[in-house]
């Protein structure tokens, strides 16, 4: 019935992939750490302007796989949905990105027929698409990514900073710790510590931290070290940051694949940071050699 088609329907029909009206999704699920992962297919009704988040919301609401089986909603992390909180990183069609800014229309252009969702592969899976990224935050602690102020009592304004310095620092400061750079980095490999039966929570924590400390620190933390070593107050502990950047798992592990900068959703000049950190490490190491 021609009359039954609403104007909006007609508009959608003119789009090639909208004709099906259904978005097919393949999700790699895992019920808990240490369990086998498995694929599950879902189908949700197509809507214009859908993103992967709204697809996952519909999957949760339906709670049924494509074959009609009742299944638990897929677990995933999200919060702001406007690509500024860094929560919803996952592998969409095989590539790391933020689920909120992954638009279904574009994804279907990329791979017609089906959207594939997988959890990040460099972090231990907690459940389904939710992973444990505590190593990423620990790396920020390793490089002392903070300005070492005396405290929060009033001491007047901060140092004067030129607009050029601000423009240099600002992009680095927009890093939202999403972990895309780490996921895409061929040098960053997964560290999954499993608590042993005879191990206390504290012992496990310590063992895991030690493993994190040896692992590659990653582009995001190198960039933060560069950010704070560029700040007039931050650079007062520049040597401590360079010491961690040149410790085991430090900047030397970078393999210059430059995937980090290619996948960064915030377009942070990560390779520039890495090269700057490399230069600082060179100068620092040589100085240390001769000042000893």
């Amino acid at each position: 019935m021609i009359q039954a088609v609403s104007p909006s329907d007609a508009e959608h029909d003119s789009e090639p992939h909208a004709a099906a009206k259904t978005v097919h999704v393949r999700v790699l699920r895992q019920d808990a750490p240490g369990q086998e992962s498995y694929w599950e297919r879902h189908a949700v009704p197509y809507e214009p302007n859908m993103n992967v988040i709204s697809v996952l919301q519909k999957i949760a609401e339906r709670s049924r796989a494509e074959d009609g089986r009742q299944v638990a909603p897929v677990a995933w992390d999200c919060s702001c949905l406007e690509e500024v909180c860094g929560s919803c990183t996952m592998l969409v069609n095989g590539r790391t990105r933020m689920a909120c800014s992954a638009l279904v229309d574009r994804l279907l252009e990329e791979s017609p027929g089906e959207i594939e969702l997988r959890p990040m592969s460099k972090f231990p899976v907690v459940r389904d698409l939710k992973v444990d990224r505590s190593r990423l935050f620990h790396a920020l602690e390793r490089v002392k990514a903070w300005v070492p102020v005396d405290g929060s009592y009033d001491h007047g304004a901060g140092p004067r900073i030129s607009p050029e310095e601000q423009e240099d620092a600002y992009p680095l400061s927009t890093c939202m710790s999403c972990g895309c750079c780490l996921e895409a980095c061929p040098q960053y490999t997964k560290i999954e510590a499993v608590r042993r039966d005879d191990e206390s929570e504290a012992d496990f924590e310590q063992r895991r931290t030690a493993a994190f400390d040896r692992g590659f620190i990653g582009a995001h933390a190198i960039s933060q070290a560069v950010l704070f070593n560029g700040h007039p107050t931050g650079r007062m502990i520049a040597d401590e940051r360079l010491a961690s950047l040149t410790a085991a798992g430090g900047i030397q592990q970078c393999g210059n694949a430059q995937n980090c900068v290619a996948v960064c959703p915030k377009h942070i000049p990560l390779t520039r940071s890495i090269a700057r950190a490399g230069r600082a490490a060179t100068v620092w190491a040589i100085k240390k050699l001769f000042d000893r």
């Binding site: 095989g94 590539r95 895409a184 061929p186 040098q187 490999t189 310590q206 030690a210 400390d213 040896r214 040149t246 410790a247 085991a248 798992g249 430090g250 900047i251 030397q252 592990q253 970078c254 393999g255 210059n256 694949a257 430059q258 995937n259 900068v261 290619a262 996948v263 000049p269 390779t271 520039r272 890495i274 090269a275 700057r276 950190a277 490399g278 230069r279 600082a280 490490a281 060179t282 100068v283 190491a285």
Partner: protein, 270 residues
């Protein structure tokens, strides 16, 4: 922290230093040697005499040649290769998911490193005197062009050489670019792009030299070259006040090791 410190191996504790030495060794001396080696070899394009003259110059180091070879070529190369394999083992190439130029280069860097390493081992066995016990060692420093030309004669060998040489060249040229980032020579994306072009140019020039050398070797007229080499050898011996060895007859390959083995060692040194 003490617990984890003691857990760490020597390699882990000195990771930064080792990786930086690794990076440096790729340029100096290994990379520098590659440049000298390929340019020397390319001199065969100017005729067997020209190549022989350069080989003679190198071999004029006499008894110093072996320690120099080991100190500046073999050991650094082995170090570079050993660390390189550790690095390769620690990485997870993912060029399938992220087919960006930088990532392709990253993957190729590792692949060419491994190819070049395998090639160099084969190359040394085949031509260097140390390979004689394994049936190689076919390079005769007194008959540089002719012995090499004979060794490279099978087309398959030349093809494998081309792959090996181009791998080594790519590895060096691209390594030059990554070294500049690692040490912080070029930091901005624009500078990296410029440096990229420099490394492309270096790669093309070196690759040209390497392939030129191969082509040159294939063009060598073995008989004619041998005549020239023998004459040069005679002149050399005369200048050194010694008898010429053997006549102009073609040396059978099986007999070849005897002379080169003794040449750089005791017989000439004493």
């Amino acid at each position: 922290m003490n617990v984890s410190d003691s857990d760490q191996s020597f390699f882990t504790r000195h990771q930064f230093l080792i990786y930086r030495l690794f990076s440096l060794s790729g340029l100096i001396p290994v990379g520098a040697f590659l440049v000298v080696h390929l340019v020397t070899n390319a001199s065969v394009l100017a005729g067997p005499g020209s190549f022989q003259a350069r080989v003679d110059l190198i071999h004029s180091l006499g008894p110093l040649l072996v320690p120099i070879e080991w100190a500046f070529i073999f050991l650094p190369m082995l170090f570079h290769a050993a660390v390189g394999f550790v690095i390769i083992a620690g990485g997870l190439p993912n060029v399938g998911s992220y087919p960006y130029v930088g990532n392709v280069r990253y993957t190729l860097q590792r692949a060419t490193g491994m190819i070049a390493f395998a090639f160099i081992i084969w190359h040394v066995i085949q031509l260097h005197w140390m390979g004689a016990p394994l049936g190689g060692g076919k390079f005769d420093p007194h008959h540089a062009s002719s012995s090499t030309a004979v060794a490279l004669q099978p087309i398959g060998v030349t093809a494998l050489y081309a792959i090996g040489v181009l791998s080594a060249v790519f590895h060096l040229a691209n390594g030059l670019w990554t070294l500049g980032i690692t040490w912080g020579l070029w930091t901005s994306p624009a500078a990296m792009r410029r440096a990229s072009w420099v490394s492309v140019a270096v790669g093309i020039l070196l690759g040209g030299a390497g392939l030129g050398a191969l082509a040159g070797m294939r063009r060598v007229d073995v008989e004619q070259a041998r005549v020239i080499e023998n004459r040069m050898d005679e002149v050399k011996r005369m200048l050194e006040g010694r008898e010429p060895v053997g006549g102009p007859a073609v040396r059978v390959p099986e007999a070849a090791p005897a002379v080169p083995v003794s040449a750089p060692n005791s017989s000439e040194g004493s």
